[in-house]
């Protein structure tokens, strides 16, 4: 039996690990286009700001691949999947047979069309170690850096760049930064904090034209303003990397469509991670949840199913922890506004900002900015669908009350893994 995994990152590694658990003798081949073994992709911003050295970005010990008998092919791109004869073709024309195939090709950057953007030496994306290294090499202290996109990746890029360039400007089309995970208030707090740390932020505006011949020298904005620029990072957003799957005939709806077994519409071809369309268990919608923990979960289930385990994927929900210039944020579930029928609870105190979205007596989403201690308890309330009526009213101020039943004061998770009779 030979398993082939395309993509050596969160989903791919987690799948390989799971397959190996069930099948000691099967062949596992991982193919990656990158020239690196699996690394923590989110770490590239920590690499930029010198928090992590290049040799410390790796997700697994060197021995992981040999210990688990994983054949890793780096620097090779899978260009085709032959369904009848069940083999993949690499960019060097080599063909490898598979019995079961996992597509874990992740995300690719979305680059919007901007006038005069072709062939510039100082435009970079921020998606992988290679791009981070290029940026680090190119950036100089006297340079003016511009980041297009004020989402998670754009803001993390800006944070890292601040260590390299004296001037960093973030340009965001929406009216606020981190628009998909933060509401107006939380976003303005994060904005202020980022500005205090030297980042210039322009919202509600975008670049319509780049000026310069072989290098970008300035940006012309929609508002008519001109923004000087020596190095430009495109971080507008990511899209599922579905090209290969589509070519092979997989059903695509934003991401690769999968079933409860993580299988695509084609037999023996599975998909997991950023490239897959995921059922969101909080609002029941199918979406692309491009986050590391989701990719690991999906990879694990896909690997198990591929190896014959009887597991089922019910879906995930977004869960994101971000730190920007030392300010911690935690978000999970949906933002959920009143206009969509959610009850919204907001708590502002000296510790920070909290927002909760409630529907049908259940917590559907939260946002913590500043004080995030014990935040995982809120994730539990969402994940376990704990009825709020059974919990103390004070949980919004103080998450530790989640641990106790409102009436009986019994600890809900007391030694939750223990065989109770054994201890007392």
């Amino acid at each position: 039996m030979r398993y082939i995994i395309i993509g050596c990152s969160a989903a791919g590694i987690s799948a390989a690990q799971e397959i190996r658990k069930y099948h000691t003798a099967a062949e596992i081949v991982i193919v990656t286009e990158e020239h690196y073994k699996a690394y923590g992709r989110p770490l590239i911003s920590y690499y930029l700001k010198d928090r992590v050295k290049e040799e410390d970005i790796y997700y697994k010990d060197k021995s992981f691949y040999t210990d688990n008998f994983i054949y890793l092919l780096t620097g090779k791109r899978v260009v085709d999947i032959n369904l009848e004869q069940k083999y993949i073709t690499l960019n060097d024309d080599k063909k490898i047979d598979y019995d079961r195939l996992l597509i874990a090709t992740g995300s690719k950057p979305f680059v919007p069309h901007i006038e005069n953007a072709e062939g510039k030496a100082n435009i970079f994306t921020f998606m992988n170690m290679e791009s981070a290294k290029q940026i680090k090499e190119y950036a100089k202290p006297e340079m003016k850096a511009v980041v297009i996109g004020g989402g998670l990746i754009g803001m993390k890029a800006a944070e890292g760049l601040k260590k390299l360039c004296s001037s960093v400007t973030v340009l965001e089309l929406a009216e606020r930064i981190l628009p998909t995970i933060l509401d107006t208030k939380a976003s303005s707090l994060v904005r202020k904090h980022s500005e205090n740390n030297g980042i210039d932020i322009i919202t509600g505006d975008t670049a319509v034209q780049l000026n310069g011949s072989d290098k970008v020298e300035s940006l012309t904005l929609k508002s008519g303003k001109t923004l000087p620029c020596d190095i430009l990072i495109m971080a507008v957003g990511v899209r599922p990397n579905t090209e290969l799957a589509q070519k092979a005939g997989c059903l695509i709806d934003k991401g690769i469509v999968i079933d409860h077994k993580m299988q695509t519409n084609i037999e023996d071809i599975y998909a997991a991670g950023d490239c897959a369309l995921t059922p969101d268990v909080v609002d029941g919608k199918n979406k692309v949840i491009a986050l590391w923990p989701t990719a690991v979960q999906q990879g694990k289930i896909a690997g198990g199913v591929m190896a014959g385990a009887d597991t089922r994927y019910e879906g995930s929900f977004a869960m994101n922890a971000i730190d920007l210039f030392g300010l911690h944020m935690l978000t999970a579930g949906v933002i959920g506004g009143e206009e969509e029928g959610y009850e919204v609870k907001i708590i502002i105190n000296d510790k920070g900002y909290r927002r909760f979205s409630i529907k049908d007596g259940l917590l559907k989403g939260f946002m913590l900015v500043g004080d995030i201690e014990r935040g995982g308890l809120y994730t539990t309330v969402i994940r376990e669908r704990l009825p709020l009526s059974g919990l103390d009213e004070e949980i919004f101020e103080n998450p530790e009350f989640i641990s106790f039943d409102r009436v009986t004061k019994e600890a809900l998770f007391l030694n939750s893994d223990a065989i109770k009779g054994d201890i007392v």
Binding site: R51, D56, A321, D323, L377, A411
Partner: protein, 149 residues
């Protein structure tokens, strides 16, 4: 492996376990210095929750299938397949706190250097919290090692 269990009705809410945990995880292992002098300030990895009516000390459950390990973006958080101990390699952790968001008990502590969690006081006879609980509300139990797969 060993695991620490809490007995709710014996907990006095005195928080001594927090004090001894913090001291055990300090550089000097000295209570006064741990609280007053050390930079960076050490963190307790156990928390007493609740009030005088009902309280309970909680620390990492070293879960069978740990959500923190799944969530870790660096690979620093790992479960030792032999001992079952869930621990973070503090030199590789970047304190992004995704583990805290994922932990069902929210019991990983924020620290600028690294995520802080219970390590069952490796190398000691029993965890400091258990040794110093005045009412024996914390007990250390040797549970069967998970059958090796």
């Amino acid at each position: 492996m060993k695991k620490v269990y809490a007995v709710q009705n014996l907990c006095l809410n005195c928080k001594l376990c927090e004090v001894y945990c913090k001291t055990a995880h300090s550089q000097t292992k000295n209570i006064v210095k741990a609280y007053k002098e050390e930079v960076p300030e050490p963190s307790a990895r156990i928390v007493v929750e609740g009030d005088n009516q009902a309280s309970l000390a909680l620390q990492c459950r070293h879960c069978e299938s740990p959500a923190c390990v799944e969530a870790c973006i660096t690979g620093a958080m790992q479960k030792n397949p032999k001992t079952g101990l869930v621990s973070t390699d503090e030199t590789r952790c970047v304190a992004c706190m995704t583990c805290l968001a994922a932990c069902p008990y929210g019991i990983i502590r924020v620290n600028e250097r690294a995520a802080m969690k219970c390590d069952l006081c490796q190398g000691e006879e029993a965890p400091a919290c258990v040794q110093n609980c005045p009412n024996r509300a914390l007990v250390c139990v040797d549970i069967y090692e998970e059958a090796e797969r």
